[in-house]
Each structure stands twice: as C-alpha cells, then as structure tokens.
C-alpha cells in the first residue's frame, strides 16, 4: 500500500538544514556539536517514525518535482530503503558522538562537521531514492561531500589520496549516469518501485552491457576488485571519516546501489537469463579471498581494516548474484552486520591511536591490559568476522551458504568456510597479541580511551552481539530484510 507522506523527503532535508547551520554557527564549539548531533538525531527520529508503518507493509512516497519531463526527484521509503536508512542513521548518530570526541583540537572543524552532516542527508537520500536519477543525484552528492573529509589533513599525501578517491568515484558516477541513460531508453522509466523494469525483449547482449555499466558504476564504491584502489589510500583521513567511508555511507551506498540494480532495475527473472551475472559472482569470490590474503600481510591497523572491508563487501555482491531468497536475505542483512562490526573495529583503531599513539599491529602487544574495554569490543567484532555463532557475522554466512545450496552452487559455501579461516588468520593474532603478549618490563596500568570514544565503541559492539543473538534487535528488524526479499521474489 502506498501512502503519500512527507517524511521520506523530510529526513534528508532536515539534516541538510542542520548541516547548513553547522556551517553558519560552527565557530562556536557548543553549537557545532549541537547542530551536528541534531542533524543525525532528527534524521534518526524521522526514519524511525516510519518504521511501524513500513513493518505493516505501508510504503511512504513523496514526489517532489520533475526536473525534466517524466523524470524527477522522488522519494520512497520501502523495506529495502528503510533497512539501509535505519542502519546508516543509527550508526551516524553514534559516529557523530565519536567524531566530536576524536576531533578535539583539530583544524578546520567547521568544514569537517559541516560536510560530515551533509553526508548524513546524502546517504538517507540514497536510501529513499524513488528512481535511478534521484539515486544518482545523491550518489554524486555523497562523493563530493566526502572529498573535503578525505583531504582533511591537507598534507600532500592526503591531497593525493583525495585525487585518487575522486578519480575512482567520479568515474563510477559517470558509469551510473550512462547506465541510467541506457535504462531510460530501454525501459522508458527509471522508477525503483517495481521488482524489475527491464524485460528480456531488449536483448541479452544490450542488457549485459547495461548491467556491466551499472555494476561498474556502483561497484567502484562497493570496492569490487579491481575497482577497489581508492579505498586503502583513503585511509589517510581521520578515523571517524574512515569509519564513515568504510562502514556506513560510501561503500554501503555502492552496495545498496547494486542491490537496487539487481532487484529493482533488472529483477530476478531477467537476471537468471543473463550469464554475465555468474561472472560477477566469480569476481566477488575472487575479491573475498584476495582481499583477505592481502589483509594478512598488512601491519598498519587501518590498512588491514581496509582490505578486510573490501573482502567483506563482496559478501553482499555474492549474496545478490545467487538470485535466491536466502542469498538476498544474506546480502541485505550483511549491510547491517558488516557495518556494525566494521565500525566497532574502526572506533577501536581510532581510540588506540588517540590514547596511545599506536597505529601498527605489531605495536599492540599487551594493549588488552591497558585498554580492556576497547579491546573487548575489538574481540567481539573479530569473532563476528570469523563467523562465530552468536555474533552478527554468523547470520550472514549462514544465509549465504543456505542461498548457495538453494541456487545449486554449493561451492560458494566452501568459499564461506575459506573466508572464515582467512578472517581468523588475520584477526585472531591481533587478539592474541593484545591479551597474551605483554611486553616485558613495562608496568601495565589501565588507561582507557576518553568516554566519548569508548561508549560509541561499546554500543556498536553490543549491536554486533544483539544482531547475532536474535537477529531481532529492537529498532533494526530483520523482518525488514525479509519483507524486502518477499517483495523482490514476489512471495
């Protein structure tokens, strides 16, 4: 049931207004924090106010205007969009708190928090986009608004990383635009409100080109190899930004865009007839394994996290390419599962760096004694990535394996097992190092991170456990993912 409601547009617009206020009143520390938090909080409230309705099956739509005849800005809060919006807005509030703690004493804070808040509105705009053009608009906005965050340090290294980031993401954006043009000329519409708008009558070859264009476009941000190059370099940004890029906004915007392409542009029925989808699956498998292999050899904490992100994101891609209900469930649920676990790790990396100045893994010996709570949170996240039952990561792996069997491709389940082992190989040594290898001769005393850094970390770790225990976390219903899957597969 579709209901016209202003809230799908209110969410981005309100946080946009707050972002504007950050720019105008940001010189004052209090007001900067106030409006940054307001941006995140108002968005959260608006999104959550729609949740009961969405769970009942209501879809909120709001058509703003046509900026060209027939295509315009439209907003639509369906189950998939709500899922992404809830994940991103929950995490955003937490990250903003963390960022306020982390950025104390940094330069250019007005710019930092202003663009940080702008990203809030862009991400929720992506989640609620009613058509590909609106999606593209916010996708590009996100690119532009994250650029000042990536080059925040303004060092030559940061500027270089910023250039690389822009090169990759803008090229991706161009492919999305090209894909949108082709979609419009084939389907005559760009709406994302149907389970597929293209039909096989356009010819498999043409459809495959279109599929390639859109997958490249969104795959850049989803860091599918070989389009992942920007992600490790963008690590020069301050940690909250890395958290934002890697866990919440940018990469997930890419993954979410891919899901939209799969389920709302092409539709499962059409994709089943296209052999190119299998090739994407192989690419995803390669990315999962290669990303993990590279991660093993990284000594820099944040770089290891970056390659782990690359590997984890392809779970979403792999789940989607299976084209089965369980696979789709895994793909959608993994958006949340990976986000909470990965952001926990980033928070830990940032806290350790701010508290002790350590950025390399080998320096972390005995850190578990100094920062017990922080490292406990890290352990939770690490176990989730390894895929231990009771942790969030297990749920994804379970459904992904089920999906692989459902699709008659059991070897993908083997990939899951291999990936678990690899994850164990690069995360568990860190846990071992932290707890069991105290450097000799030093007096160990507890020296925890600042509360503004510690609490967000712990809350995210708690989410990881909750997502694993019940899958029914208050305010983050698994049923949303299931509702989206039912819509996509027409069940």
């Amino acid at each position: 049931m579709e209901v016209v409601d202003i809230r799908p547009i209110l969410a981005p617009v309100l946080s946009f207004a707050c972002a504007g206020l950050v720019f105008f009143m940001g010189k004052n520390t209090f007001w900067r924090a106030f409006w940054s938090l307001s941006a995140a909080a108002t968005k959260l409230i608006v999104v959550f106010s729609m949740l009961p309705g969405t769970l009942r099956g209501t879809v909120y739509v709001f058509k703003l205007l046509d900026f060209t005849p027939g295509i315009g800005l439209g907003f639509r809060a369906d189950a998939l969009g709500m899922f992404f919006a809830i994940v991103s807005s929950t995490l955003w509030l937490i990250t903003t708190v963390y960022a306020i703690g982390y950025m104390k004493g940094e330069h250019a804070q007005v710019r930092f928090f202003g663009f940080f808040a702008l990203c809030v509105s862009a991400t929720v705009g992506i989640a609620f986009a009613e058509n590909l053009l609106t999606l593209f608009l916010f996708y590009e906005t996100l690119t532009i608004c994250t650029y000042p965050l990536v080059i925040h340090e303004e060092t030559p290294e940061a500027m270089k990383a910023g250039r690389k980031y822009l090169t990759y993401t803008l090229l991706g954006g161009a492919f999305v635009l090209l894909g949108s043009v082709m979609t419009y000329s084939m389907a005559g519409t760009l709406t994302l409100s149907k389970p597929g708008i293209l039909s096989l009558s356009s010819g498999v070859t043409a459809l495959s080109w279109l599929f390639a264009a859109l997958v490249i476009g969104f795959g850049v941000k989803a860091a599918i190899m070989p389009l992942h190059g920007w992600l490790p370099s963008a690590m020069v940004a301050p940690t909250p930004v890395s958290a934002l890029l890697h866990a919440v906004a940018v990469v997930k915007a890419g993954a979410f865009g891919l899901l939209r392409v799969f389920y709302n542009v092409f539709g499962v029925a059409v994709l089943r007839e296209m052999p190119i989808v299998d090739w994407l699956a192989y690419l995803a498998v390669f990315t999962i394994l290669a990303g993990s292999f590279i991660a093993i050899f990284q000594d820099n904490f944040k770089r290891r996290l970056a390659y782990s992100t690359i590997s984890q994101l392809s779970y979403i891609v792999l789940g989607a390419t299976l084209l089965t209900p369980f696979g789709a469930t895994a793909a959608i649920a993994h958006i949340a599962n990976q986000a909470f676990a990965k952001i926990t790790m980033f928070f830990v990396a940032g806290s350790v760096q701010r508290t002790t100045g350590k950025t390399q893994i080998h320096e972390l010996a005995g850190i578990g004694y100094r920062m017990p709570w922080t490292m406990a949170a890290f352990t939770v996240a690490a176990l989730s990535f390894v895929g231990m039952p009771l942790f969030a990561g297990f749920v994804s792996k379970w459904y992904l394996s089920l999906g692989a069997f459902e699709a008659g491709k059991p070897w993908f389940a083997v990939v899951m097992v291999a990936s678990s082992l690899l994850n164990a190989a690069y995360w568990l040594p860190v846990v071992y190092l932290a707890y069991f290898k105290a450097p000799p001769g030093t007096v160990l005393r507890i020296e925890e991170a600042h509360p503004l850094l510690l609490w967000p970390t712990l809350i995210c770790a708690a989410y990881v456990i909750m997502l694993g225990l019940t899958t029914q976390v208050p305010g983050l219903p698994f049923s949303l993912a299931q509702a989206a899957v039912r819509f996509v597969f027409g069940m």
């Binding site: 205007l65 005849p69 593209f136 906005t141 532009i144 090209l178 043009v181 000329s185």
Partner: protein, 494 residues
C-alpha cells in the same frame, strides 16, 4: 502595444540607447553606465512580454515598413528567439558588473564608448535571433562581431590588441563565408527570407545548395569556436575585460550555434539535401571539441584562460546534440545554449570580481581566496558544479538529454564520450575549487582581501542562483522549446 510593434522595439530600443550613450554619458562618462543599465532593463521587459506572447500563441512576425516578405524584411519571433531573454538578462547584469570595473580599469574618455559598444553588441545579438531575413541576419552578425572585436581591445593593452586582431581576422573570414553562402542562396532562390528560401530551395540544384550549406556551417562554426576553428577564442575571451568575457563566452559564441539552427530550419524544411553525413562530421567534431577543450584547460594556470577553454568543450556538447538530429539531442543542445550562457557568465563574472579585488589571475596566486571572498567563491563553485553537469544544476539537463539523444540516434558511443568528457572537465574545476579552499595561500595578503563590491556581487549571486533554479525547474525551458524542435525535425521523420 501590438506584438509586432513590440518585436520591432526590442531592436530599436537598445540600438537608440547605444547611439545616445556617448551623448548622455558626457565627457566623464559617469552617466553612461546607469543609462545603459536602464536601456537594458526596458529591453528586458519587452523581451519578457514577447516570450509570454510566443508561449501563448506560437511564433509570430512583424514586417518592417509594412512590406510583406519576400519583398520586405521580416522579423520573426519563434521559440529559438526566446534566447533574447538570456541576452537581455546577461547584458543587464554585465553592465551592472561593469560599473566598478570601468571606473577602475578604463581611461575616463573611453568609458562612454565602452557602454556604447556593449549595447551595440547586445543589439546585434537580439537582432540576430529575431530576424527572419537572411541578409538582415548577416548585418546583425556584423554589428555584433565588429563591436565584439572592439570590446576585446577596449583596455588598450598590447596583448588585448593582438587578441582582438586575431579575433578580427578569423571573424572576418567567417563573415565572408556566410556572405558568400547568402549570395549563393539568393542566386538559387531569388529570395532572402528564410522561410521563403526553405520553400523555394526544394527544387534547386544540389551542388550549389551543398556549397552554400558547407560555407554557412564553416562560417558559423568559426563564430561558435568549434574545434579546430577555435584558435581565436582562448586569447580573446581571456584577455577581454571580465564582463565582456561573460558576454562573449556566454552569448556571442552562441550566435554561431543559433545561426546553425537557422540553417537547419531552412535545409531540413527544403529536403533538398540529406544532411546526415554533415551531421556525423559535426558530432565527431563536437566529441573532439569536448575532449580537446578539457585537455587544454587542464594545463592552464590563468583562471580566465581555463574558463575560455571550457567554453570550447561546452560548444562541443551543443554541436554534438545538434548533429545527432534526434529529438532529445536537439532539445538538450538548445536548452544548453541558454544554460551554458548562465553558467559561464557566473564563472567569468565571479573570476572578474576576484581579479578586481586581488589583481591576481593565476591559480597559484589565488590560493586561499575562499576564506576572504566566501560569497564570490561559493557562486563560482556552484557554477563549477553546474558546468560539470551534476544534478540538479542547470548543466545536468544538457548532459542527460544529449546522452539520451545519442542512444536514441543509435550512437551510444557518443553518450559515452560525452559523459566521460565531462569527467575531464571535472578535473580542472576540482583544481580550481582546491585552490580556493584547501591550499595554503602563497600570498598572505590574499586573506586580507575584501568581498567583492555589491554591484559585482549581486550579478554573480543572481546568476549562481539561476544555475540552480534552471536545473531544478528544467522542465520549463524544455517544454517551452520542445514544440519548436519537433517542428524543426518533423521533415526528417516524415
């Protein structure tokens, strides 16, 4: 007042205004600026009335002296003539912007002639777009070209004179081509009225008709600065005073394109030739223009030089859209004629305000200017985002429509070229924005600079706002121009 009288007055008012400017301005030229501004305000009001009329009743004509065509001169106002509104808007704002500029940069005795030339230039363009007579078109083209050459040289500096001379040579050759073609067409058809020529050309000999269309195309392409006929543009546009650059880059080059549209109207209607191979050449040249313009722009240090090269890229977009000859493509191209004028004027006037305040024009010298002139640089940034074609700004529409047109015409590869050419353009605009905001100043005094004076800031901000408004409300120009494009392309489809 009847519509035909209005149509005549839209040319007469600025023409008389121009002639009277030296008298009103007096020896010091003090009054000439406000006088020109007032003249353009009146002209704008007339243009607005005309557009409302054409939107209501469709194209209409006025016959000078009551002589009906093919004997007399016909003024014809159709949807394409609605570019009068952009000419008036930009002209008005450029004159407002010139107040402080002229006071500071020009010798006192030249101020009144500066405004005279500017008004003459605008008159020429207005006449060019509203005339229905081919020879009349040529006359107006000469008015706008000659005043254009003089405006480039107005500062009296040596480099400016050189640039103006280069512009003059190229311009004169192109005018000659156009005149030659007009002579051919007159010989073929015995008429100078465009609608009439179109009818009579139907049975004409193919070879001279082909020669005429080739000469017209080359002539107008020089005016439009399509690669490889662009060589006069960067110097002329970069060295001219900033308000003049805005008019030249935003409007004057567009007359070449509007001229091309008139040629298409004649030839598509006559069906005497199959223009598809000419169109293919134009599409290719458009694609090359996009890439080459962007490529050269990347290596420019001078901010106005960079903007000048960016014009070449954008002309490439428009030519590509026109050459595709599909409905989406031509709509995109014509709308971009309007939108690019707004965007480029924002950029040139913004750059002009910065140069006025700092005296620097190299990007390296301008580092950190975003901190001391936040409003001007914000406007330039909007212009930059717009010219790169980010939705929902004005520049996006053209990209979307021309790319759709490429797919529609069965050449998706040009859509590809267009979208990726735009990325190239992004590269140097990012460089500009980085310079403004993210790099440490080379000259510490740049942080002490004051924001642009109000008479400069207001035009820049109005234009920047329009860049956004025209993007968000893009359906208005598109649905306005659509009937004209359908009419123009109808003979092709049938």
């Amino acid at each position: 007042m009847p519509a035909s009288a209005l149509l005549v007055s839209v040319i007469i008012v600025p023409l008389l205004g121009a002639v009277l400017t030296p008298v009103v301005g007096g020896r010091t030229g003090k009054a000439s600026g406000p006088w020109a501004f007032g003249v353009m305000l009146v002209t704008s009001a007339i243009a607005l009335a005309l557009i409302v009329h054409v939107a209501n009743v469709g194209p209409f004509s006025a016959y000078l002296g009551g002589w009906e065509p093919p004997y007399g001169i016909e003024l014809r106002f159709d949807e394409f003539s609605a570019s009068t509104a952009v000419i008036c808007l930009l002209g008005t704002l450029a004159i407002l912007f010139s107040f402080r500029y002229a006071e500071k940069e020009l010798p006192t005795e030249r101020i009144r002639y500066y405004y005279t030339l500017l008004l003459l230039n605008l008159t020429g363009m207005i006449g060019f777009v509203v005339t229905g007579d081919l020879f009349n078109l040529f006359v107006f083209m000469e008015i706008l070209s000659l005043s254009g050459y003089a405006l480039v040289a107005v500062s009296g500096e040596h480099t400016a004179e050189m640039a103006a001379f280069k512009y003059l040579i190229m311009g004169a050759v192109s005018s000659l081509m156009v005149l030659f073609a007009i002579g051919l067409l007159y010989a073929l058809t015995g008429s100078l009225n465009m609608a009439d020529i179109s009818v009579r050309l139907a049975g004409a000999a193919k070879a001279p008709a082909m020669l005429a269309v080739a000469a017209l195309t080359v002539g107008f392409m020089v005016k439009a600065a399509l690669f490889p006929l662009h060589i006069w543009l960067p110097d002329a546009h970069a060295i001219a005073p900033s308000p003049v650059s805005a008019v030249l880059s935003g409007l004057v080059v567009k007359t070449g394109l509007l001229g091309m549209i008139r040629v298409y109207q004649i030839y598509y209607g006559a069906k005497v030739l199959d223009l598809s191979s000419l169109n293919m050449v134009l599409v290719w040249l458009g694609a090359i223009s996009i890439v080459m313009g962007a490529f050269f722009a990347i290596f420019q240090e001078d901010i106005k030089m960079m903007l000048a090269y960016s014009t070449i890229s954008n002309i490439g977009y428009i030519i590509m859209g026109l050459g595709l000859a599909s409905q989406y493509g031509v709509i995109g191209a014509t709308v971009h004629i309007f939108n690019h004028a707004l965007i480029k004027a924002t950029l040139f006037l913004g750059a002009g305000a910065i140069i006025y305040r700092t005296g620097y024009r190299n990007l390296t010298d301008l580092r950190g200017i975003g901190r001391s002139m936040p409003l001007t640089t914000a406007a330039i940034s909007i212009g930059a985002i717009s010219i790169v074609g980010m939705p929902p700004t004005a520049g996006f529409l053209c990209k979307w429509y021309i790319a759709l047109g490429a797919v529609e015409a069965g050449h998706p590869i040009f859509g590809f070229a267009l979208v990726f050419g735009a990325l190239f353009i992004f590269v140097y605009y990012i460089r500009m924005v980085n310079t403004f905001y993210f790099l440490e100043p080379v000259h510490p005094e740049i942080l002490e600079v004051k924001e642009a004076p109000l008479s400069m800031l207001v035009p820049v901000l109005i234009l920047a706002a329009l860049c956004l408004v025209m993007g968000v409300l893009g359906r208005i120009p598109i649905s306005f121009i659509e009937p004209a494009v359908i009419r123009m392309l109808a003979p092709l489809g049938g």
